[in-house]
């Protein structure tokens, strides 16, 4: 199931990038997609971590939410950058990730890094070391709103 | 017209990023600036593709995006280990 969906996605990616639909090229696309799946199986990356099909359904609502979070925090970082006195208060903190799978934790860590103003600088066990541009960003993360949202996204499967 | 405006903004941003790459002071500032230059170059490629109405530029942009990631990571790895094919076992404990 996972392998079939991976091959299908890779073939769709081929079709989207190619833009030419002659029989020769489409056949080449099928061959390449299947060869890539075999390579992925051999490299042991076609597992729930490398191709998390369980997360696709949750992703439909998660990514719009993440875009909105990025827009909000991006605007606050913009205000800090353009403020004449540059009111930064860099803060480091530790937050706990409540996700169960590696893909969920990676999503949480990458979401933190992707949101301007906060970034994950270290992971040890289920604890993330966070560097935040302003103190409020660190306090928001300690509140755990994003953690709960990512856990919900992970559990939506 | 709007693509020309966006291209101008990206060029100014490129100049600022290059300023940071020249000023340094640490090698990581330069790597960060280099990565930003890569990002901005991709956006410039896309915008110029629209400006000249040749969307094939996007394919080059995608390829350059992949190269940018690998380039930045390999530079970081090189500065951290002094070698791109380092051996985990032989590394001294810090």
């Amino acid at each position: 199931m996972r392998y079939v969906s991976l091959a299908g996605l890779l073939f769709a990616f081929w079709l989207a990038l190619s833009g030419h639909y002659t029989p020769m090229l489409v056949t080449a696309g099928v061959v390449c997609a299947v060869a890539c799946v075999f390579a992925a199986i051999r490299m042991r990356v076609a597992d729930p971590e490398g191709h998390p099909i369980e997360l696709f359904r949750g992703a439909i609502t998660y990514f719009p939410w993440l875009f909105w979070e990025i827009a909000k925090s991006g605007w606050s970082v913009t205000r800090v950058i353009l403020h004449p006195s540059l009111p930064i208060s860099p803060t480091m903190t530790v937050v706990r990730a409540s996700q169960k799978t590696a893909a969920g934790m990676a999503t949480y860590a990458n979401s933190i890094t992707l949101t301007p103003g906060t970034m994950t600088v270290g992971v040890s066990g289920d604890e993330f070391t966070i560097h935040a541009l302003v103190r409020d960003g660190a306090i928001d993360l300690e509140g755990g709103g994003m953690d709960r949202r990512v856990s919900q996204f992970e559990g939506a499967a | 017209m709007m693509f020309a405006a966006a291209a101008a903004a990206i060029l100014v941003a490129l100049a600022l990023a290059i300023t940071r790459a020249i000023k340094g002071p640490t090698v990581f500032d330069r790597v960060l600036a280099g990565n930003s230059v890569g990002t901005l170059a991709i956006m410039l490629l896309a915008v110029v593709g629209f400006l000249t109405e040749r969307p094939e530029f996007l394919d080059i942009g995608l390829t350059y995006g992949l190269l940018n990631l690998i380039g930045t990571l390999s530079v970081l790895k090189f500065f951290r280990h002094g070698d791109l094919a380092y051996d985990v076992d032989s590394e001294p404990k810090s």
Binding site: I81, T91, T120, V121, S124 | L16, A17, S36, L40, G65
Partner: protein, 121 residues
């Protein structure tokens, strides 16, 4: 309808240009490497995102828009990886961030050395 799309894509392109400039300006203005990374991430997310949405509106529904969205997805998946690798490399090299407040020991969680990506031995 045509006019509305035109105005919306103008708006998106201008917003994208603005955030790109702000990020690059922050890259020059911030005092040390960790804070500069935050500025660069404004360019990587908001600047790129708005520019690509603006171009998608101009391109209409088709392969070109799909490629633009691939480009956006590529940025959204690679930018955090690069930032994280850069931050870890800085810490590994012994560059300490200048902090206004260090809350690492105050949250009830154990303060531990961040994993620097090496295999446990």
């Amino acid at each position: 309808m045509r006019l509305a799309v035109e105005i919306a894509s103008w708006g998106f392109m201008l917003l994208g240009s603005f955030f790109t400039l702000v990020g690059a300006f922050g890259l020059v203005r911030m005092p040390e490497v960790f804070t500069r990374m935050h500025a660069a991430s404004v360019t990587d997310t908001l600047g790129v995102g708005f520019l690509i949405f603006g171009m998608c509106l101009q391109a209409g529904f088709g392969l070109v828009s799909l490629k633009l969205l691939f480009l956006l997805a590529l940025f959204f998946f690679t930018a955090p990886v690069v930032t994280h690798a850069l931050a870890q490399a800085c810490l590994h090299e012994g560059i300490k961030p200048q902090l206004a407040e260090d809350r690492r020991g105050m949250t009830g969680a154990r303060p531990t050395d961040p994993d620097d990506g090496r295999q446990p031995s």
